[in-house]
Amino acid sequence: MPDAATEPSTPAPAGELPDVSRRDVVARLLKLGAVSLAAALASGASLAPLLHVASAAEPGKKRKRRYGMVIDTRRCVGCDACVAACKAENKTPPGVSYTIVLEQGLGERPDDRPLFLTKPCFQCEHPPCVPVCPVGATFKRSQDGIVVVDYDRCIGCRYCIVACPYQARFSDFGEDYPAVEEHTPWASVPSPEYKQFRVRGKGKSPEGNVRKCTFCLHLQDENGEYDRASGRWPACAKTCTGKAIHFGDLNDPDSEVSQLLKERQAIRLKEELGTEPNVYYLL
């Protein structure tokens, strides 16, 4: 059920975007052929009332975000810094790694250059992992499209791992790295995931659960915003040495990710399955 707000290339209607930018309005009006009106607006004379009308249409409605990533494979050097940063941020145990770096993920290439593919969860528009959950413990958040797991509801059947075509889900078998094993001071350091600050313990969730990348949603503020300047940004994107991982709101036409998608050729993996990932790769 693709609605206007989730179509990749269509900017959301102005009614849903109270903070619609001047540039966006201009682009729309130009498209409509209202060149003269646009010229008047561009001078700034009558922009304010127009925006006021747009936001007054649905005053209570919050802006719907669609967080995604655009990953530049030409900038990725395969250093695995994102993998380490993710582990440090989310305190994931052995066998669980929310992002990984594949080599030659797109098959044999005619040249001898390795292709690196850093791969978080794609937070698909139509995630195959969500409908199969027998208890509805995993779902796609309506406000920002991030696919999350309710650790207290999940029964650990691992059907979602089976259903995910991208191997983005991992089962937590309760194993620990030697340095953070029980009875070491590090064992009591909680994971900030989902802002739940759980401390690992035998038999306690998330042990026995399925775990996945959350785009570090615990770093969002109360309005659901990330802020790169103050470091509240997904750990992998923040740390990327080659600046290959770009993160942002795909619903915001001015965001870096949207701009990159406009300017460069991007692909998504396994389009044939109709999952519509929100992570794009620049080739």
């Binding site: 066998g95 195959p128 199969v132 208890v135 029964i155 059947c157 089976v162 078998f173 038999g203």
Partner: protein, 416 residues
């Protein structure tokens, strides 16, 4: 060997298997699934295969019981209650197997409280819960008359039957006839229920479009045929052993053996179709899955276990004129089929998963949980062996205290 020796061997085997399995049970509850070998690439292993195996046996033998209780086929009358009992025992084993497989087994009730009906798994669980209740009710109505009669016996047996009769004391033949009508209604509802829940197990696999080995409309049908074949085969073996075995069920065993042969041949036809279409289509992931079955690390599971023990030898025994009229050989052939179907189930679950979803994923980071090589751990094996032990002991207990069926049907008793 005398009957006594055989009986002693049976009880010993069951007890030893349970003792071995209880080590795995304890390990499972103390260490959760740390000592299992499945992971995040092959998330389902031996226990899921055992689960679909047992649940298939249950649905299959239940559907055979409907020949007696719905379609009133006199020839199979003597094994009707054995079929129901087999369906109950194997369903219990299936539920035990899958409960150990869950990461949080004590949250299984979440499926009843927070069901997501977009999930085939939720449907399956609701349907087999209903099926379990129906199965117990039907079995009780089948047994009620005998339990009432038996409750007059002296000693523990009489007391036990009184408890199991749940206060029912009516032993008039007319009530036995009306019981049979209740059974007929229950069994009639049971047929679509068993078809739906076992088809549901097949859909659970079939709907996953990212797993080409499973994805397709044939899968739920294949599961039903597998269930019928394996369930009927086990039932032949069970009928040859319990409740006076071949002395009483000789003709039934021969008749049911023919049915099993037909079902097995149909199952082989479906499997050949899946294989040929898959290879010919040349879709890389699908072919990779098929190659894993026929030439992967577990090639012998297919060639020796599934094809040899479970298919070719029993087909020969059931078809050749020299052997097909010998009920003992027919029962043994059906036993081989029942054993062979565990290989069928393993070959559905594991090769379907043991392929990288994205090339290079298993080299991307180092963990035993991130590997396409899955061999069940000792703990997994012993756990499943323990389940088999529980099954043997449950059959033994059933043989020991459940009343023998009357020689004639309730209607005949009423007319006499």
């Amino acid at each position: 060997m005398s009957d006594k020796t055989l009986k002693r061997a049976f009880w010993t085997l069951g007890t030893v298997l349970i003792l071995v399995g209880s080590w795995a049970w304890i390990d499972r509850w103390v260490n959760a699934d740390r000592n299992t070998n499945y992971g995040s690439i092959v998330p389902w292993g031996l226990w899921v295969a055992a689960y679909i195996y047992f649940i298939g046996l249950s649905a299959g033998s239940f559907l055979v019981s409907s020949l007696v209780y719905v379609f009133n086929i006199k020839r199979f009358e003597s094994i009707g209650r054995l079929a129901l009992f087999t369906a109950i025992v194997t369903l219990v084993l299936a539920l035990l197997s899958i409960s150990a497989d869950l990461g949080h087994p004590f949250r299984a009730w979440h499926v009843l409280v927070y069901p997501n009906f977009r999930s085939p798994m939720a449907w399956m669980i609701w349907l087999y819960s209903a099926y379990f209740i129906l199965l117990l009710l039907e079995f009780w109505f089948v047994m009620r008359h005998d339990l009432v009669v038996g409750s007059r016996k002296p000693g523990w047996r009489g007391r036990l039957y009184r408890i199991l009769a749940f206060g029912s004391t009516d032993d008039r033949p007319e009530t036995a006839v009306s019981d049979r009508q209740v059974v007929r209604v229950l069994a009639t509802f049971g047929i679509p229920l068993a078809i739906m829940f076992n088809g549901g197990v097949g859909s659970l696999f079939g709907v996953i479009s990212s797993r080409p080995a499973w994805h397709g409309g044939l899968f739920p049908i294949l599961f039903l045929v597998c269930a019928l074949t394996s369930g009927a085969a086990l039932l032949v073996l069970v009928s040859a052993i319990f409740q006076d075995g071949l002395r009483r069920n000789r003709d039934t065993v021969l008749a049911l053996g023919t049915l099993v042969l037909g079902l097995l041949l149909f199952d082989v036809l479906l499997q050949i179709s899946e294989t040929l279409v898959g290879f010919y289509g040349h879709e890389p992931d699908r072919v990779a899955n098929l190659r894993l079955i026929y030439g992967g690390p577990y090639w012998w599971v297919f060639w020796f276990w599934q094809l040899g023990i479970g298919t070719l030898i029993p087909i020969a025994l059931l078809a050749l004129p020299q052997t097909r009229r010998n009920p003992a050989i027919v029962a043994a052939a059906c036993g081989l089929i029942a054993i062979g179907f565990l290989a069928v189930r393993l070959n559905i679950v594991i090769p379907g998963l043991a392929d990288e979803q994205l090339e290079g994923i298993t080299e991307a980071f180092n963990s035993t949980r991130i590997s396409t090589d899955y061999v069940p751990s000792l703990m997994e094996f012993t756990f499943t062996a323990g389940l088999v032990g529980i099954g043997l002991i449950l059959f033994g207990i059933g043989e020991w205290f459940l009343p023998r069926p009357e020689e004639s049907t309730p209607e005949e008793i009423a007319h006499a």
